[in-house]
């Protein structure tokens, strides 16, 4: 039983690593800033959440898991605020794209 759980956790972690690698690949794929932040940074967030889920599944229910949940909660609260601050600063400083409505 524990063996099967560990295999499931490892597969989830590998999926998270694939998401992270896609995010890093996307940073070098796109040409302008807005498409980079739309696609890339957010796929990186999906990878982060998936890796943390894998670690939670592996460890079961103890204080270590609680601390990982704390890290996850902090990241989910602060990450959109940071992204929003960067994008807003780019928008206010006059970085434009062609289409807007």
């Amino acid at each position: 039983m524990t063996q099967a759980l560990e295999w499931i956790a490892n597969i989830v972690i590998v999926i998270g690593l694939i998401f992270m690698a896609l995010g890093v690949f996307g940073v070098f794929r796109f040409r302008d800033y807005y498409s980079r932040i739309l696609v890339t940074a957010k796929v990186d967030t999906v990878g982060f959440i998936t890796v943390m889920f894998g670690l939670i599944i592996r460890h079961g229910f103890d204080f270590f898991t609680g601390k990982i949940v704390l890290v996850l909660a902090l990241y989910i609260i602060t990450n959109p605020i940071a992204t929003h601050a960067i994008t807003r600063s780019a928008h206010l400083s006059g970085y434009r794209i062609k289409k807007e409505r």
Partner: protein, 176 residues
């Protein structure tokens, strides 16, 4: 003195779910569960809540951050599902490398400031959409696969998340 104690007690009863959550965080950071840590955790949480209500907040926010535990759990689960669906949707765009980025102006039905902020942060957290600016109920959203010219611009908002928040806002109006 007596009325002051009554007001304090009402504060504690109103915020009991927030106090429970903060005590749990305290216990996790201590990494041990004894009577001493539990007691100090509850006392510190009550102090944090009361001081925040009385001295730190300038406006009248007392009723807006009491999101119930049930709503919080339901919202978080739905948020994770939306994040994963959107993340898988975005993968073909990364591999082929074509992006058609637009800024779209749309309105939410929510009216409470804190709930609009939570919705804007959720929009930023889902891949493919980033909130650029918020003014009242109007949000400017930077979207990857935008709805066409003649469609409803509200398609960029995750509508199920908005539904949960709307249902919560209705119960809020009776209390405030």
């Amino acid at each position: 003195m007596k009325t002051y104690m009554n007001a304090l007690w009402e504060d504690i009863v109103d915020n009991k779910e927030v106090i429970l959550l903060l005590s749990l965080v305290w216990l996790i950071l201590f990494e041990q569960l004894t009577i001493g840590t539990a007691l100090t955790g509850v006392v510190m949480s009550i102090l944090v809540v009361v001081f925040t209500d009385r001295f730190l907040l300038k406006g009248n926010y007392e009723h807006s951050y009491m999101i119930g535990l049930g709503t919080l759990v339901k919202y978080t689960l739905r948020l994770f599902i939306e994040i994963f669906i959107a993340g898988i949707d975005v993968i073909p765009n990364i591999i082929t490398g074509n992006a058609d980025v637009q800024i779209i102006t749309c309105e939410t039905k929510l009216e409470d400031e804190l709930l609009i902020d939570i919705l804007a942060n959720s929009i930023t957290l889902t891949p493919g959409t980033v909130t650029v600016e918020k003014k009242g109920s109007t949000l400017q959203v930077l979207a990857l696969s935008a709805p066409a010219e003649d469609e409803d611009p509200r398609g960029v908002i995750p509508l199920k998340l908005e539904d949960i928040l709307l249902r919560y806002e209705e119960t809020l109006d009776g209390k405030a």
